[in-house]
Symmetry: C2
Subunit: 476 residues, 2 copies
């Protein structure tokens, strides 16, 4: 895998890259997630909403329901599932659970087709380009709209207003659901939704620039930043030594030897990027169990002096241990399976090669990551060859309007300024009903997580603004 | 064909039924249409906008362009082609040509996929349910949106506002284009667009009630109405006589004998319905060459006294001659090919069996047409069997919002009160930017036709209101 691909790989994994990393370690014991009480249900959907051929067939979409706090006529809060198992999003979206009682709201968490247990062709879903043909955001949005209309047939729900929620790609889906089906949802809370990460709407170095900035602004961060920026040449220098790859495999405690230095480059690129994404103010296990402010903790190994050679590599080893082994149970690591084998990741890669092509690059001046350029032409070529698809790069602009979304209404776009994805988000109000919230000192959709004593005031304020908007949108 | 199907057939042919009748008579000389000066162009579209499988392929969409009046930066008026050859709509939408000079507008008339020369699979386009799979309004809207975005890349067009126009099903498409792609068109003139003709939104007898009313309100119209309402039993009585079908075939100058009386029932049902649709105040050849106020002319054969038996049939024979042979060149008629063989009709029937299921029925009290009921269950059964499709009757409501369209903006819905389709239209303002115009004494989208000295004041006023809205929508 080349450098450019490494960067683009990072760009392609909004969040699920984390789960990938998590799934890679089956022996890993999870720090207990807060688990909520819900029913699991399945709804029969057409595999193709946009055609009628009876040979295409149907599939079962999974969704989770809680009516614990619901009263007839009161609203329905609907989570637009993103690229992963819906139970995971459900358990990590405590905001909906926290506010359900005061709104007497029903909660629905709907799984995105082709993920989790919502597989249009069962275990054959990823087998051919023909089977993958129905994996698009439009189909997923249609699933959501049709499911909501069905749920509204439930006694007492006929007059219930439906509010969409989502984070990351799910936040984009929530916003797009309101934009395309305003008759179905009265508004959307789109948390950390980089809807402008496409094409030239946002500079391609935005993700890596913001992530780097997160490291740079920790205590002693300038040193941390410089040390990490040195890592890539140190890796290459070591790899070029005699037995260099054996040395690296040993330093980084690999379960089996790694023969390509780029595997390490990709691995560290992902780890540093992901850690910036989930740089939360309290210990959390959104993806990996991590301490509070993991970026600062990572920098604590790297901020005392300029490190070189094996000293630098051993400090990085501590970061790896922090990221993957905070609970201290792993005996070895496995960098070589990074982002190649696991399910959710593979399938997001298809979306990232068709519709969700999110440019990413890295500039030496502003980034600690390996410098890389964004080459849309070669990326499209790679994608078309890999997936037997014909890419239409302008389609997402035509479909969702690019920056021209002012004629829509009732969407709150929230972003944390620490979140590397925030660069592609909506950061200023577009109209009275398209509202932007920027949260200082906040990472990726922290506002969607359950309330926590360590939450900064900005996220508490943001949740209050979100609730205000929901109150304006709903009837009764 | 049963009575119910006859009625539903009528309901299924918004306008193209006329062209069917026209195509049925290849020897028929057309009264010269006003013909405008345009270029013909083709644009390569993906056959499937909602998937990326490279095996699906592309096709050429035809569109017509006039830049005669256009200045750089000035608007683009875009006709959303409906169910037929686009040149025909182009030549019958004189309003766009009339106002192009004062707006310095470019004109585009885009053909709907699967009609005219825009055939996704060439001559095989209608061969299988798999080939017909991509014939939906969503795909057609995507064609329009993608084509517009392409046209806006033309030098001088980058900042041009695009206004959608359409009549009948084309009017629905124009409205939906604004609703689904507000980033692509700044507004829509939706003329005679029965977007509420679906499901229970409008009583199913609306079309036949309004059409009947058109006959009833002509001079002597009550007699005309009664005579036509007697026709159906007279036809049956005659058919039940010895050699009854021979007698009917002879009275109605059939080129070849007709053996099933229902063929005549369907034929007359269509003729009377269609004549109400194009009941224009001046001679026109929108579909068939007809005199001014054809409904009144038709009633002139039927409004002097109650007619019975052969007298009634011979009076009806005069109406047939009026409708199909106004120019006096036909030697015989051909009722038996009604709505079964010709291209546009067959293909509209597919749309009418999947998405565009428009309920129609006829009640004795309010209608001169054969009484019929609307049975959605048997209609869906018939459709599924005929086309190998799975019908999802609620989908159009989810997709386009049913009556819940208030969150959209910048659409003018115009309807003539004589138009049988007006019952399914938007007849009152829904908001400041969703405007309804009801034109007294006006039939199907007369406002879209070229200005004519015989135009009633209401249509002149309507066009002025439409122009005012366009001025508000466009930039510069």
């Amino acid at each position: 895998m080349s450098r450019a691909l490494s960067s683009s790989f990072l760009s392609l994994c909004l969040v699920v890259g984390f789960t990938t990393a998590y799934w890679r370690f089956p022996s890993h014991q999870v720090v207990s997630l807060s688990s909520y009480d819900y029913e699991t249900a399945y709804f029969t959907q057409p595999i193709d909403h946009f055609g009628f051929d009876s040979q295409i067939g149907e599939f079962k979409q999974r969704y989770l329901v809680s009516r614990e706090y619901w009263e007839h006529g009161k609203p329905i809060f609907f989570y637009a599932g993103n690229e992963g198992d819906i139970t995971w999003f459900c358990n990590n979206t405590g905001f909906m659970w926290d506010i359900a009682p005061e709104f007497n709201a029903m909660l629905i968490f709907a799984e995105h087709r082709y993920y989790g247990k919502s597989l249009p062709f069962g275990s054959d879903s990823y087998l051919t380009s023909a089977n993958l043909q129905y994996l698009t955001s439009e189909q997923a949005l249609a699933d959501f709209a049709v499911l909501i209309e069905q749920i509204k047939l439930m006694p007492g729900a006929e007059n219930s207003s439906v509010v969409a929620f989502g984070g990351s790609y799910g936040g984009m889906l929530a916003a797009w659901l309101r934009m395309k089906y305003p008759n179905v949802v009265v508004g959307a809370i789109a948390a950390s939704a980089p809807i402008w990460q496409f094409g030239n709407l946002t500079p391609c170095d935005s993700f890596n620039r913001i992530a780097s900035q997160d490291y740079r602004t920790t205590p002693g961060g300038e040193m941390c930043f410089e040390n990490i920026r040195d890592l890539w040449s140190t890796l290459n220098d070591t790899a070029n030594q005699e037995h260099g790859m054996t040395i690296l495999s040993s330093i980084f405690d690999q379960c089996s030897p790694v023969s390509d230095v780029n595997v390490f480059v990709d691995w560290f690129t992902a780890i540093f990027g992901y850690m910036a994404v989930v740089n939360y103010p309290y210990p959390a296990s959104f993806l990996e169990p991590l301490p509070a402010w993991p970026v600062s903790v990572a920098c604590s190994y790297l901020n005392e002096s300029r490190l070189h050679g094996e000293d630098l590599l051993r400090a990085i080893r501590s970061v790896v241990n922090l990221y993957f082994n905070y609970t201290g149970e792993l005996k070895c690591f496995n960098a070589s399976s990074q982002g190649t084998s696991s399910l959710g990741d593979k399938i997001w890669a298809y979306q990232a090669c068709t519709e969700q092509i999110l440019p990413v690059c890295s500039k030496y001046e502003t980034s600690m990551f390996p410098p890389s350029q964004w080459d849309p032409v070669s990326e499209v070529e790679r994608c078309e060859k890999k997936w037997n698809v014909t890419v239409r790069p302008n389609w997402m602009f035509t479909l969702f309007g690019g920056k021209d979304i002012r004629s829509h209404s009732n969407i709150v776009f929230s972003n944390g300024n620490l979140d590397p994805w925030s660069g592609g988000g909506v950061l200023t109000n577009l109209s009275d009903t398209l509202t932007a919230i920027v949260m200082e000192n906040v990472a990726h959709h922290l506002d969607l997580r359950a309330s926590n004593p360590a939450d900064p005031q900005t996220v508490i304020d943001a949740r209050n603004v979100e609730k205000e908007h929901i109150r304006m949108w709903i009837k009764g």
